[in-house]
Amino acid sequence: MERIITYAKALSEAIDMCMAKDDKVYIMGLGVPDPSGFFGTTIGLQEKYGKMRAMDMPTSENGMTGVAIGSALTGMRPIMAHHRMEFALLATEQIINQAANWHYMFGGKSSMPLVIRMFIGRGWGQGPQHSQSLQAMFAHIPGLKVIMPATPYDAKGLMVSAIEDNNPVIFLEHRWLHTITGKVPEAIYRIPIGKANIARSGSDVTIVAFSYMVIEALFAANILMKLGIDAEVIDMRSIRPLDADAVLESVKKTGHLVVADQAWKTGGIAGEIIAIACEEAFGFLKAKPVRLTLPDFPSPSTPGLTRYYHPRAINIINSVLKMLGKNEKTEEELDIVQKSPLDIPNKEFKGPF
């Protein structure tokens, strides 16, 4: 029988299984042993593995990332968790100068097995410093791997791969994904880092997304189907390495490309994916490709503004309709007006964080 669990539970299972399998794996983060356990992803680990392997830490993001790096040099396999991506910015010196460079700059003599989990907040007024999507910054850096799983199945498989990888892996979790549910096998399994997944196959248009935007893209694709448009949704899963082949293959088939990225437009991954399509499959494109991103402005707090700030399914639908020369629609016309407020993913998602 297939088992349905949440994204958070899938992550917790992956970490637990890796810790059980290899006593070099440990997890640290401010609040790892808390009752809330990193949104349900670290609950019970300290009871099971002790304080030396599931550990709290001082509020010293940069120093403690250096500590994780140092421990990796003695054969440990650290997982570090940050409640928000913005806190991890304090650690960019260690992540970018050290962890990312270590293998290359020392001529391949030592490796850096390190997973850094960062959470992208959104909703309930998280605002300018708790809801930024800064993945492009990390994906810019050679030596890092950056993964952004969208489903519970991928979350577990990619977490196992990340922990077993001998390189620094930035593991980005969107807060609105922790509560989603999906089929997840009980046994341990791995999903290769750098391989995209065709989340829905189609023939008329390619919608590329990752992390939370995959959910919006799949929703949009279902509505588009009702309008007679067969969309293919590519879930990139990793943004570095980026699976260019998956994008190109799809674009060559559909000739139309929309990239939905919940980050800023300038210097972003959406632009990178479109550049790849233009460089490698220009002759196949039947229309100008479209980047669907946040506006190039900081992330506001009030629901009065966030409703206009974050792209959602209707924006994807209209990008596709416009690209195909069809009339744009409103949410009312399509009967997809969300009943709960737009600053939460579902009724269960409550403040204050």
């Binding site: 030396m52 001082p58 140092g70 040099l73 001529g107």
Partner: protein, 337 residues
């Protein structure tokens, strides 16, 4: 003991016979570092070593005194000024010089340069971001503790790094977990051209930063290799039995400019008088005074110099004749397998 140093082989045997704590070996190691650095300074103007160099001349005693108190499996982390630390910890001279020449035989295969000396087999890494290796040194100590190992970790840094927030983060965590790490601050009084007086309050001792975090800290004459060795040995012994971290502030002085192979007193950021004061306390000179009663020692110095110079000539020839890495290696080692 009668010396028979006719060639380097017999000298190596002699060096091997010396015990780890033997002062002659301390002298030998410091002299070797100095002669290597002076040779680099001499031929750097050829412009074949195409990377910045931060010479350790004047600061040999902290490197040798600390590393002599360590075992091969203990780790040492260093900074932009790492030549002395690398050699004292047991790094390979040919691999170091090859790296300065950017050759494929370098310790980074040419990808790091002078500021990234490393040799995992002897537990040594250096990087040039000020303060950056301090938490890594602490993390190595954490790794040893989790795995119940008895090794210790040493983080070398300069006085400037004590102004970095990451030192406080590192001290706090090392004290919290009683980690087997020794913080070695080589205080050479300058951060490039900026003296301590414009960077830190005069009424606060540098070691008080460590004490405030609950880390035992001591000042020590950093030009007295024996004092450095003794202080480090104590700290290492304490760390090995779970006694936690120690910080040692070692006062010392660099003779050359911050980066490069010139003397720069004429710039006026430090005085000739200060410079001469420190030269009078030169680490090699101070140790020679202790050994002078040994009649053979003057002769030994001559012979040490001869043998070391042979090794240096050999190593430079090796490095200069080694090939540059090929184009394909630009694209290797992005990710570990």
């Amino acid at each position: 003991m009668e010396l028979k140093i006719s060639d380097r082989q017999s000298y190596r045997e002699y060096v091997n016979e010396l015990k780890n704590g033997d002062l002659k070996l301390f002298y030998y190691d410091m002299l070797r570092i100095r002669l290597v650095e002076e040779k680099i300074a001499e031929i750097y103007p050829e412009q074949e070593m195409r990377c910045p160099v931060h010479l350790s001349v004047g600061q040999e005693a902290p490197a040798v005194g600390v590393c002599k108190a360590l075992g091969k499996d203990d780790f040492a982390l260093s900074t932009h000024r790492s030549h002395a630390h690398y050699l004292a910890k047991g790094g390979n001279l040919k691999a170091m010089l090859s790296e300065l020449y950017g050759r494929e035989t370098g310790c980074c295969g040419g990808k790091g340069g002078s500021m990234h000396l490393n040799d995992p087999s002897i537990g040594f890494y250096a990087v040039p971001i000020v303060g950056s290796t301090i938490p890594i040194g602490v993390g190595i100590a954490l790794g040893f503790k989790i795995q119940n190992k008895s090794e210790v970790s040493v983080a070398f840094f300069g006085d400037a790094a004590t102004e970095e927030g990451v030192l406080s983060e590192s001290l706090n965590y090392a004290a919290l977990c009683k980690l087997p790490v020794i913080f070695i601050c080589e205080n050479n009084l300058y951060s490039v051209y900026s003296p301590l007086s414009v960077r830190q309050p005069a009424e606060r001792n540098l070691i008080d930063i460590a004490k405030a975090h609950g880390v035992e800290a001591f000042k020590c004459d950093g030009n007295d290799v024996v004092a450095v060795y003794n202080a480090t040995t104590k700290a290492v012994e304490k760390a090995r039995i779970g006694g936690g971290p120690t910080l040692l502030e070692l006062s010392t002085y660099r003779y050359y400019e911050h980066c490069g192979t010139n003397f720069d007193n004429q710039l006026g950021y430090r005085s000739e008088e200060e410079f001469n004061l420190w030269k009078a306390k030169d680490p090699l000179k101070m140790l020679a005074l202790k050994l002078v009663e040994d009649d053979n020692f003057k002769l030994e110095i001559e012979q040490m110099t001869k043998v070391i110079n042979l090794e240096i000539t050999d190593a430079f020839a090796f490095a200069k004749s080694a090939p540059y890495p090929d184009e394909a290696s630009l694209f290797t080692h992005l990710y570990a397998k």
